[in-house]
Symmetry: C2
Subunit: 230 residues, 2 copies
DNA sequence: ACAAAAGTGTTAATCTTACACCCATGT
DNA sequence: ACATGGGTGTAAGATTAACACTTTTGT
């Protein structure tokens, strides 16, 4: 049985980072082809002997020199036959998060043309990448409420106010500080450290840490993380 | 820029049907190749000029002569390079539901080798199809609690007790009839019809109908369907 | 009259929301 | 002493959970 098929498989990564009350998306500038100088998602073709997830990690490393904290498959784009003007490409898009200590892109490899853009201020994008980012953004917003992925956008140790601001920013909602704190602490998956923030203004704030192991245990026991606010 | 790549793209469909307090999965018997006579999911290779979702619908029609009530992309399987022993295949799996009036497979097309199997009693399966079905089954269980997809497994008009049994069966939980009815009716998306069930035993029961249009309106306004029970 | 499944309300417990003042530091 | 952001408790309201008897039909 022989199959002739002329479709190429690519992977693309939507990488989100959080800084200064802003969600940022990692983009790279196309260097070749018809779409030269347009901005696009990190991505590329899958090698014959390469797993899909290895392909994404490889591209992230080659094109932006970055290692992500969280990676999951998002959606496979293959319904628009002409999404790539050159030939038919089906792209498996991955949703990724990096914590804010990695927001400075190191200039090694091809990374010079990689840049963070605030989600509210994206440049014109190649292919259907704008649409893909919208899907990823929706995933971010909804997933934040039922999985503890916010911690993958923050440094190892963080201020409670940072966590709160992250939720406010991404969900575009006002949050009551007391209720938020009560709720999130009640899960028992966030721990106080002995450290304090190096702040200029106001009362010094304790630094907190997400206990992932504890979360995993609770999760196995049926516990569901959930943050919802009117 | 030329890309050489030797990976084929296929689609597979996990179709669930509900009957007699049982979830059933649609499988077909392989006719050719090394895996001849093994059971497998409906699926096949994508044509060069065919959208992914068109490919699934075509395969569903060709191999089982069935039209589904609900279809969504599930996951793309491409991390196991040898999942198909012949050559590398990346498969986009789709999650589908049919309502119980369609559980009798018409014998047209290739459908003679298509059969429903209770999820608790599957035959040995080709490729990684067992694993794919597990993922789909999990999606069914979780989605049932936050989207009104249960109605796609029932006939147009159904008994409240059928709906309740469907939830009990799929979620593997006891449900309080009064609380369940109160909650689901409170959404205002289920309507009483004038018809009654043709039952042998007990008090005749009203037939109900899901008002999809109403749900869509509410959904746009921010309403979230949610059925959770301890 | 009895078997079988449908239909229906109330109460306690829990969770969610709304809301305002004091605290610790730097300048 | 004041400006800045951190930290905390309580009460009303809404939602969920637990629970048992009556109704309508066929036999």
């Amino acid at each position: 049985m022989t199959i002739t098929q002329n479709i190429k498989i690519a992977v693309d990564a939507i990488v989100f980072g959080y800084a200064n009350n802003n969600i940022n998306v990692l983009l790279i500038k196309q260097k070749f082809g018809e779409l030269k100088n347009q901005w696009a998602l990190v991505g590329g073709f899958v090698k014959d002997d390469e797993r899909l997830n290895d392909a994404v990690n490889r591209e992230l490393n080659e094109e932006a020199g970055i290692k992500v904290n969280y990676l999951e498959q998002l959606y496979t784009y293959g319904d628009d036959i002409n999404r790539d003007p050159r030939f038919r490409v089906v792209s498996v898009a991955y949703f990724a998060l990096v914590n804010s200590t990695k927001l400075v892109l190191t200039a090694d490899s091809d990374a010079e043309d990689a840049k963070w853009f605030p989600i509210g201020n994206l440049p014109p994008l190649a292919f259907d990448h704008r649409e893909i980012i919208t899907t990823a953004h929706n995933r971010l917003k909804s997933k934040l409420t039922y999985q503890p992925i916010g911690f993958d956008l923050l440094p190892e140790e963080f201020l409670f106010s940072d966590l709160e601001n992250l939720y406010c920013t991404i969900l575009e909602k006002e949050i009551d500080r007391r209720n938020f704190r009560k709720k999130t602490l009640s899960f028992g998956i966030i721990e106080e450290t002995v450290n304090f923030s190096p702040k200029k203004n106001g009362r010094p704030a304790k630094l907190f840490k997400f206990n992932k192991q504890k979360y995993n245990e609770l999760f196995k026991g049926g516990f569901l993380f959930e943050i919802k606010f009117a």
